[in-house]
């Protein structure tokens, strides 16, 4: 595969070139120190050097809120919302976030393939960018490298003064056509070191998790937790949702909408009649972590956590999923080596 060199100053030119072909979504500054994927209006606003965005590109395929159908109360009838393929370029995506999209492809495609998600996934082009692991990233521990190009159409690897640009698919190559870039001869740079590590690979974690249901870490974590659900809502592999009807003020009709939900919220398992099946925060903490390292992992052999560090970085209480998992590993090993 041919590699090109793109000077830092020419990133805007690349974005403009792409924007001329399809809508481009890329990281922008948001607030004081946050970043968010937004549609590019001015190529100069795009930020390629960012630690993480609050919501991964999942928000374009499974939006935080979406209308499933509109209904008419007089007619007692409905029409399904028109869902269109995204047909856009997602520019500046980190490898773990594409890994998360692939996991959602599995969950939403499995059993009953969901039209809304799969339709929006059509025509999505991914342009990746490498990143320097910060204090929260640990994707190396779940098998995702910051320079992992798999699944991307184009990948940008950060150098000191610019980027190595690789077209990895035909679509990527075509998008780069007409852009005059010099070839990149030298090799790729060394990747940055992670500051966070999970001690064991998933194959071993399966054994650890199987013995961790009654670990005291769940109750201890619950003491620090306010149950706000942030960890669920920022997780790029979470896809649980709730559905609610809203009636307009004229009381003539309304919409049936779905929005992201989270298993850390108490009402998540509540049924009419008052029963709540995961009543305690400790139960919900365990469920959240098992959703990432046990339940789907037992089925697929893969961790369902992509190591983005969001649940820890955005947790106001500073609860670290890496610390929880390592604590389970430590306790498991202690028991494993203790003679009976």
């Amino acid at each position: 595969m041919v590699q090109f060199f793109l000077e830092s100053e020419r990133v805007t030119e690349l974005v403009t070139h792409l924007k001329g072909q399809k809508p481009v979504f890329a990281p922008h500054r948001k607030g004081r120190k946050s970043f968010a994927f937004e549609r590019v209006e001015d190529a100069a606003d795009v930020v390629l050097d960012y630690p993480r965005v609050m919501h991964s590109i999942r928000k374009f395929f499974l939006p935080p809120r979406e209308t499933l159908m509109t209904f008419d109360l007089a007619e007692n009838d409905f029409s399904t919302a028109d869902v269109q393929p995204s047909d856009a370029i997602f520019f500046g995506v980190h490898s773990y976030d594409l890994g998360a999209v692939h996991r959602l492809d599995y969950n939403l495609g499995k059993g009953h393939p969901e039209k809304n998600y799969i339709t929006r996934r059509q025509g999505a082009v991914f342009v990746g960018v490498s990143f320097e692991p910060d204090a929260y990233h640990f994707c190396g521990s779940v098998g995702i490298d910051p320079m992992d190009t798999s699944g991307f159409d184009i990948f940008l690897t950060k150098l000191l003064d610019g980027y190595i640009v690789e077209a990895l698919t035909e679509v990527g190559e075509q998008l780069l056509n007409g852009l005059d870039l010099p070839a990149h001869e030298a090799g790729k740079p060394a990747r940055g070191n992670f500051q966070q590590h999970i001690y064991l690979p998933q194959a071993k974690l399966n054994e650890v998790m199987a013995k961790s249901y009654d670990n005291p870490v769940w109750a201890e974590t619950a003491e620090k937790c306010v149950g706000c659900g942030t960890c669920n809502l920022v997780c790029p592999t979470c896809y649980c949702f709730n559905v609610e009807d809203t009636v307009n003020i004229q009381a003539t009709g309304g919409t049936r909408d779905r929005h992201w939900d989270g298993c850390m919220l108490r009402e998540f398992t509540g049924v009419a009649g008052g029963e709540v099946f995961r009543e305690h925060l400790a139960d919900r903490q365990r469920h959240r972590v098992f959703r990432k390292f046990k339940y789907i992992s037992d089925e697929t052999g893969q961790p369902w956590c992509v190591g983005c560090g969001r649940c820890t970085a955005y947790c106001t209480a500073g609860i670290s999923i890496v610390n929880i998992v390592n604590r389970l590993v430590g306790d498991y090993e202690k028991v494993a080596v203790t003679p009976i």
Binding site: G31, L233, T316, A317
Partner: protein
């Protein structure tokens, strides 16, 4: 179907919630089309003998309030508390953190014996409240939800989760990342994270989530190097009744 008869009452409060009702410029006519308003001191004269829905604003803070609320409850099929004062006691509850005699002295001086006063109470601590519209002033969005539900003969559902959920759905930058105290993590959602969305912090006006982990909340403030005493004061501002005795 006959239109529901609606009555609106004010107790101890600033009447901001009621004014907020009048502020539904776009929807007011639609609202009025669904109901007959039979009693509303702020907008009309006269009294009614019974009503399907009573909206009650303000906390209960005098013996007269207690008498009146019993009467309202007797005449109303459904009673809805409007706004923080009615739902939790609201800002008036700050008074409850001081000895009642001191409060009377401070406010009325020599005439204090002319003004009997009680601790400011949530309406629900005296009579049964069927539904809440929370917030200071009451959240318009929630009022419309509760209102349309009642008009359609449905039961409005109150969210149990915190404001953080709504901030996340809107991808708001966390208020803590901006270095401010925010009560969002323990405050009941339903306002669509109004204040954090416009760059403010959450004041907790909608009351606490069920079973709030206030100890963890305190830890969060300490971890972020924020002033814990200041945070408790803010929490007290709208939730004095709810956190009474929680912090030793």
């Amino acid at each position: 179907m006959a239109k529901p008869r609606v009555a609106i009452f004010d107790f101890t409060g600033c009447e901001g919630c009621e004014l907020n009702q009048l502020n539904f410029e776009d929807q007011l006519l639609d609202i009025l089309a669904h109901v007959d308003i039979v009693e509303w001191r702020e907008a009309m004269d006269g009294h009614a003998d019974e009503y399907d829905i009573a909206f009650v604003e303000g906390s209960l803070s005098t013996p007269d309030c207690i008498k009146r609320i019993h009467e309202v409850r007797r005449k109303a099929k459904v009673l809805v508390a409007l706004g923080a004062c009615a739902v939790q006691g609201g800002i008036n509850g700050v008074k409850n953190t001081h000895p009642i005699e001191e409060v009377r002295e401070e406010v009325y001086g020599e005439d204090k014996y002319l003004f009997p006063t009680l601790p400011a109470l949530a309406v629900s601590s005296v009579v049964k409240v069927d539904y809440n519209v929370r917030g200071c002033p009451m959240t318009q969005l929630e009022f419309l939800k509760v209102f349309t539900a009642l008009v359609l003969g449905k039961e409005p559902i109150e969210p149990e989760h915190s404001v953080c959920v709504e901030c996340k759905l809107k991808e708001n930058e966390c208020v803590y990342a901006r270095g401010m105290i925010c009560l969002g993590p323990v405050t009941r959602a339903g306002c669509d994270a109004h204040c954090p969305t416009v760059g403010q912090y959450c004041t907790g006006c909608r009351g606490l989530v069920p079973e709030p982990n206030l100890k963890a909340m305190e830890e969060i403030l300490v971890e972020h190097g924020l002033n814990v005493d200041e945070a408790w004061k803010r929490l007290q501002l709208f939730n004095a009744n709810e956190i009474e005795g929680v912090r030793s």
